[in-house]
Symmetry: C2
Subunit: 708 residues, 2 copies
Amino acid sequence: MSDVLFVSVALLAGLLSVLVSLLSYRAVMKADEGNENMREVSRLIQDGAVSYIRIQYRILGAFTAVFALIISLAFGELGPPIAISYIIGSTASMSAGYVGLAVATRANRRTAAAAADGGLNPAFNIAFRAGSVMGLMIAGIALVGLTALYWLWDFVFPAYDAPVLWEILTGFSFGASTVALFAKAGGGIFTKTADMSADIVGKIEQQIPEDDPRNPAAIADAVGDNVGDVAGTGADIFDSNVAAILAAALLGATLDVMFTIPFAYSLLPLLIAGLGNIASVIGIFFVRPDCCDDPGTALDRGTYATTGIFMVLILTTLWVLQIDLMIAFSAIAGLVAGVFIGITSNVFTSQRGLFGFKPLMDMVDDSEKSAANLILSGYSYGLLSAVPSVLGVVAALVASFIFGITATSPGLGVWQGGIYAVAISAVGLLATNGFTMSSDSYGPIVDNARGVIEQADASEEAIIACDRLDAAGNTVKAITKGFAIGSAAISVLALFAAFIESVDALLAFEISVNLADPFILAGAFIGALVPVTFSAFLILGVDRNAGRMIEDIRRQFDEDPGILAGTSKPDYDRCISIATSGAIRELMPSTLMAIGVTILTGMILGLEALAGYLGGAVIMGFIMALLMSNAGGAWDNTKKYIESPDYNHDDPRYEQIHDNAVLGDMVGDPFKDTAGPSINTLLVVISLTATLFLPIIARLNVWFISLF
Amino acid sequence: MSDVLFVSVALLAGLLSVLVSLLSYRAVMKADEGNENMREVSRLIQDGAVSYIRIQYRILGAFTAVFALIISLAFGELGPPIAISYIIGSTASMSAGYVGLAVATRANRRTAAAAADGGLNPAFNIAFRAGSVMGLMIAGIALVGLTALYWLWDFVFPAYDAPVLWEILTGFSFGASTVALFAKAGGGIFTKTADMSADIVGKIEQQIPEDDPRNPAAIADAVGDNVGDVAGTGADIFDSNVAAILAAALLGATLDVMFTIPFAYSLLPLLIAGLGNIASVIGIFFVRPDCCDDPGTALDRGTYATTGIFMVLILTTLWVLQIDLMIAFSAIAGLVAGVFIGITSNVFTSQRGLFGFKPLMDMVDDSEKSAANLILSGYSYGLLSAVPSVLGVVAALVASFIFGITATSPGLGVWQGGIYAVAISAVGLLATNGFTMSSDSYGPIVDNARGVIEQADASEEAIIACDRLDAAGNTVKAITKGFAIGSAAISVLALFAAFIESVDALLAFEISVNLADPFILAGAFIGALVPVTFSAFLILGVDRNAGRMIEDIRRQFDEDPGILAGTSKPDYDRCISIATSGAIRELMPSTLMAIGVTILTGMILGLEALAGYLGGAVIMGFIMALLMSNAGGAWDNTKKYIESPDYNHDDPRYEQIHDNAVLGDMVGDPFKDTAGPSINTLLVVISLTATLFLPIIARLNVWFISLF
């Protein structure tokens, strides 16, 4: 009985999210599109985004088709259902990305128009509503997709047992994560390619202003912001959320089988995620521009409401279901860790600091010494920023494990129960992602609206209103970035546990990932190299891709002097196409490498070494992601601070100091927007590769050993 | 019987090294000291080095005394012998550093004089002889110290069993490694403080040339080269060598006890190290300037001779002793890995590249784009440079383990035999450190000689001779740097295994460092943070320390205008004193933190988590060390290439391109000379802390758990 109930609640909650998302979309679309100027600028960005999506999805579609074919052939009898799950997972992620991008690129001019007509409050209302389209959509689709698939294989074609069923659903998660890797890392290469090329040819070579419409890369640059921040982050969170639910379900299925409990623990993650969705939908309505005197406070109010409602819901539900509340505490521990990571990352990247420890102000001082000092201190503080985040994750990990092994409901209170609770902490952290992602997507929308309004000669008040909206967006964005990294880390830890559980199930004995075993230690070393190599390839990829685009911009200027004179239009689409296909060309080898090395490690060194490999990858990857995201953020904000009125612009060396800060920001750009945040997704992809392909890797390993 | 034989051979080989070192010292001292100019410049450096040593050793002496007291109190009955070993280890390392620094700062003017009088060959002869003083001294003292202590506690006061005896000798290694940390990391902060301050006040503010004697930091800068490259690297290699021997001995003692073999495996590492010393002493005599037409070839000849002789010696000896030759192969596997790491690191930092893959030339291209591109590509190639090195270590690890478990001598052929073979590979890698370090120390000597000769208005031919000597020195230095990092990594892996073996012995059951256990995973995460935090502190420490020194240089210029006019002498000693005491002040907290966190992790999370902690630290630390050393080296060489005649200086943008390259070099300086190479030593220190303090940590853990 509990299975139908749990799945129904999850499905309905998912449908509710999707419905509210669509209603918000309609509401946003009805708003005034602003004057001719606003519409023109915004339309170019909108069309550019469509070009990007068209090219990327064509390549992704081909990739998905090939992979689906491989899967359906490699897995024997289970091949077709896994391939179908995989295709649906890819499609779900792509659809969510599409919706987010569509609404974001349409909402910017409407936000701008509202700011120009009615000021702060109406503009905030539209921007946040538009953000919630993306937020609720990804949260909703995750649940609808997973429950629909569960229903399909359990009720409609009831051919599979619970553990096998979750293996089939791993295909969904794998699909979501490969798409997310392209969206996040590919989007990251795209946006930085455009940014760098526009600056080098436009600002440096031709000395035209930033964002000048004569620059053929200008639209690609604006599209890049949406591509990276809206579609990329959305796909990233979607994928972490699905992975967390799936890992917890896989571990729960083991508990269910061990203790012959019908589906309680395997389906509980879906239920918790459903409760999170409900809390998010309600939380959205707490964000009212007229509630508070500041957009930031309004967003905070929504966060508190969502979190509070979610806690009440989960505690009540578990109490009613007579499941030990320790499981609820695990979910809450995850949530607390996520918030902690977001806040502490912000200490290293905002001028506020904490208790007099102000890294950003040190970096401002270093900008006055030399660019080298600034680079060195940004790098050092980036390293240090990993400390609280790692400790936060470690605390959540240990606490939820202890909660799980001390819980008293049937099936809990054992080692596996503890590990299950760790996975639940990841589910808890991501349960309210509908709300988190809504306020995150709000950021790039108001950022874009500010750009639109500036080029559309709007009133001074309208610009000030947009600035205030933007400031609130930046703070949220900084916190979400940490949150996204933390949630991915905990999800990956859950996947790591799920992988080990799957190996145990497959080999029918408990494996030990004993680092004292040279093979396993070797695996851990190789795993640690994966995020290292991947980041290097991404950064070098931006460099190479920018080289191609710079060449094309120069060619356009050479062939048609009318472009610089402003009499003829540059070919914006050409730049978008170079950035898109170049990004995928740079990314494809690293992605295939990551998947290939994962399979090869398991084949050559064995399944226990493969577990060591995942462990090495997550330790190294988590820390590198924090280093690069936070160092990049800190350099960016150092530059912003030096440009702000808070800084003394009368210093005779101001120009030099500003140049130093600009250099820091340029170094930080691919750190924070390309390599850093992509590592999360990479970790999810390789963990899922190991889990999904486990039976095949095991057979390859047996074959490889037989060679000797 | 075998114990007396093994120990005697080791002791005699050690004494032989020390003797040859002293004879070389006498020979070098007899050489002509050059003209008045050369003597004056060189004397200032020599006196500066004495100032540095005096200040540093005073603080280190106090530190050693306090720590010795703590040890003798904390270890109960074993306290005094461990404390004595510890004091002797510290003193041995300090003496070796002193000798190296003394000869290096005296040999530079003699090399310069020989180059001026006789040209290339005599100058090469003196420089290499002087280098061999340091090389053979550190190799010899390691053996003399260890065997003398063994003799003391085994024959003179035969109160201890073999395993306890090796625990007492761990104190020697701990002493060597704490001194090495101060020598390497403290020296690294010293040299970069001086370098940065001299540049900022001298070159930028006052626009006086580099190395100008009017700059109060000029001598500190020159001393810094010797302090970092001679004393620092020497202490680092000394410490890795002792740690490798000790780890293998600890593991060997377990085998001896398990299979009741009298002392064969525990003393074999000493014997192997002794054979390496003999090979090094003979190898030194193969380096003859008149043998080849190029100093580099002469050095290579010595390397081949030493390696060949060592291989013959170890194969013959093990064959005579009827120990399975697989153990010799393990030692050779380590050696091969070390050379492989050195060579592949060089691919990323030299213009030659490999198979058309030329990272350095890409970086030269990036310098033409912008400084940001150069920083980004240097960082990326630094990351990628970790790949072959890690794979080299992994291959040595897995190969030697397989050799050990397939060996057939009594006591081998089991899991512990495999682990023992891993430790032997570290011993093999470091056995010929007497020769390796000789050719490495040659580098800074000729580098300094070149500086002396330039300021002493010598002939053009003499300068060219010195340039050729210097070029050979740079190649050797690049390879040794990789070698040092690789050898430390393998030594730390051996220590890691020794730690686990000690825990097994203490708890009387086999522990498992199972990463699937949340506590152990938590330990691994915390361990990974240690090198991360340590590097950040070192880099920020350079920044802060340079701030203090800059202030003092400005004060000197202000208070005495005669300094800039060249009529009065600046206070060189004041700068040396600031750099030295500042370096230790910046380093002390990080060192105590590393030791403290190690003990706390074991106390709170338990001994198995402490093993996870060491594993996390070595994985993260090894990769970070490679990233920072190699990125730094690549930036340095990019600048050198752009300054060389190979590069087109007529480019109208040359000045900008050169500025970009200089910036890369400035960022790279603390990477490659402070943080990167210090991580090795840090890893040794924390591994030894865990091993040495194990009984105390175990008691603290029991107490901590009893609180709940």
